[in-house]
């Protein structure tokens, strides 16, 4: 299949997933609002923690309160992306254990895409709107000089945070494929949440590099925020983005290779 045809095929499948997602959510209306509220609580808890911390200091590892809000906003934006499209990846460990991945091996499209993107969430779209509003507020408060280039850079940064979120979830899913029934992926998710909502600059140089460019949980928020805030030069920014894109492609290839280990009854 040619590249363009493949893209159209994947977009058609995504559209069908979105349609089914809307129908499914119409069955659970309370759950819809409850999920919106849940994410608002999650956003609120994160904002509150760091507003409390910044009420005692003006700077944490070179990030002031306004810059920190931009970093948090990228956490929310990437989380909303996960809520919209990648919700099923939360249960990957369980589905591997129970051998529920057979239908996704039929391959009318990429197995990873078919599995990962199967649960479109309408409430995630509401949360994305909230997250984008917070990002706009945070960028405005960070006194970033608004130019066309800066707006374009913000859009690139948003795409990058989505890309890195997909990359990280795929990386963790690989662990689940190799360690069936270990719940290691879930533990790594906990690590992700512990690490992604604060700048990787709080760590020493080696650990920071590891978290930004190898695992890369820090890149989920710090790299996009640094791009928007102009903390990277053009060369450095291009290099960071290029590396994360290449790393993503390598991780997706590694997932495909690891998926060969999957058997219908693994648990």
């Amino acid at each position: 299949m040619r590249g363009a045809d493949s893209l159209v095929q994947h977009l058609r499948i995504a559209w069908q997933y979105a349609r089914i997602g809307v129908i499914r959510k119409s069955q659970f209306k309370v759950e819809f609002w409850s999920q919106v509220l849940m994410d608002c609580c999650w956003y609120g808890a994160h904002v509150a923690v760091f507003e409390v911390l910044y009420s005692h200091v003006t700077d944490i590892a070179g990030w002031n309160r306004e810059q920190f809000r931009v970093l948090l906003a990228f956490l929310f934006v990437s989380d909303a992306f996960m809520m919209i499209w990648l919700g099923r990846m939360w249960r990957f460990w369980r589905d591997v254990k129970d051998g529920r991945l057979d239908p996704f091996r039929v391959r009318p499209a990429s197995t990873l895409f078919l599995y990962g993107f199967q649960e479109f969430s309408v409430e995630g779209c509401v949360n994305m709107a909230i997250a984008l509003a917070y990002l706009t507020y945070a960028v405005a408060r960070a006194s970033v000089h608004v130019t066309v280039a800066r707006v374009a850079m913000t859009l690139v940064a948003i795409l990058l945070s989505w890309w890195v979120r997909t990359l990280i979830l795929t990386l963790y899913a690989i662990v689940d494929l190799w360690m069936v029934g270990s719940d290691a992926g879930r533990f790594l998710q906990e690590m992700l949440h512990a690490t992604a909502d604060r700048p990787a600059d709080v760590f020493g140089a080696r650990l920071r590099t590891f978290l930004l460019y190898v695992i890369p949980v820090g890149a989920l928020t710090q790299v996009p925020a640094a791009l928007v805030l102009g903390r990277y030069g053009w060369g450095g920014g291009l290099l960071a983005v290029g590396w994360l894109v290449a790393l993503g492609l390598a991780v997706f290839a590694a997932w495909n290779a690891s998926f060969r280990r999957y058997e219908s009854a693994m648990g």
Binding site: Q35, W42, V49, L53, H56, I60, F187, A194, R198
Partner: protein, 277 residues
């Protein structure tokens, strides 16, 4: 009407329930390692780095009455205590209601609450062992700065608050699970409680660092007395008068939650049709 067993018989069944739940928890050894032993460790480790960066950048000796060493000790105790606090994964009742699997409990000759508390005992025993293992390992590796209870009395007071607090958490998760009788899916409600209680309890940041008004409100709620106050008693920052106040809040909460749990279960069963959603 289902025959009910006498209380002594239900009590005799508890150890069996605990044993079965233990076997289930340890069925996957790697899963046991990640779920029970390593759970809750990444957050305090990362927060340690954040506090270090805060002290470095501000140059202050204290933040909210805490020195850096005291904050690190706070993190160590919260990591140990968090292991003992139930979370949204501790019960799967809502899924069973959704799938219509509750029927089996209704034909058992014992109350469902025997299973519920049996599970709680198994959970508490495993988590207590994990917490002791964590604390003991740290005390062996870094005896000079690893925190020790301020006194024997403080340790006993902390244990009392923690035991009552975990019961409150357990009943809250049970009640939220029971809401599946009406709402079908309660996953987000469980998570919502988790996020809010993590903040209120001081798991994310010590309540002492928060504004006074917020602290005043949180002191009326059981999560605060389960984690934050327990840790501060262990650190010697709260005294026996605070303990008595916490005991009062927890006992009232426990009585209210217990009543609510019975009510939710009974009312829920009236709606239950046994076919799932």
């Amino acid at each position: 009407m289902k025959p009910s067993a006498p209380a002594s018989e239900e009590l005799a069944l508890l150890p069996h329930v605990v044993a079965y739940e233990w076997r289930k928890a340890t069925a996957f050894r790697a899963g046991f390692l990640f779920n029970e032993l390593m759970r809750g460790l990444p957050r305090p480790v990362v927060m340690g780095f954040v506090y270090l960066a805060m002290f470095k950048s501000s140059g202050a000796a204290q933040l909210g009455g805490y020195t850096l060493a005291a904050l690190i000790q706070y993190l160590v105790w919260t990591a140990a205590i968090q292991k003992c606090v139930p979370d949204w994964r501790s019960l799967d009742l809502s899924e069973q209601i959704f799938d219509g699997y509750v029927t089996k409990y209704l034909v058992m000759p014992v109350s469902y609450f025997t299973l519920l508390w049996g599970r709680f005992i198994q959970f508490a025993l495993v988590q207590l062992a994990a917490a002791l293992l964590f604390w003991g390992a740290g005390a062996l590796v870094a005896p000079s700065w690893w925190p020790h209870p301020a006194s024997t009395v403080a340790f006993l007071e902390a244990c009392t608050l923690l035991a009552l607090g975990t019961c409150c958490y357990w009943l809250t998760f049970f009640i939220l699970n029971c809401l599946a009788f009406w709402l079908d899916v309660v996953w987000s409600l469980l998570n919502m409680f988790q996020f809010v209680s993590a903040f209120v309890s001081g798991l994310l940041v010590p309540v002492a660092l928060m504004p006074d008004r917020l602290r005043g409100v949180f002191e009326l709620l059981f999560p605060y007395w389960t984690v934050n106050a327990t840790v501060e008693i262990l650190l010697g920052r709260l005294d026996s008068a605070d303990f008595v106040r916490g005991l009062g809040v927890l006992l009232v909460s426990l009585a209210a939650l217990d009543g609510l749990a019975m009510l939710a279960w009974r009312r829920g069963l009236r709606r239950y049709a046994g076919v799932g959603a």
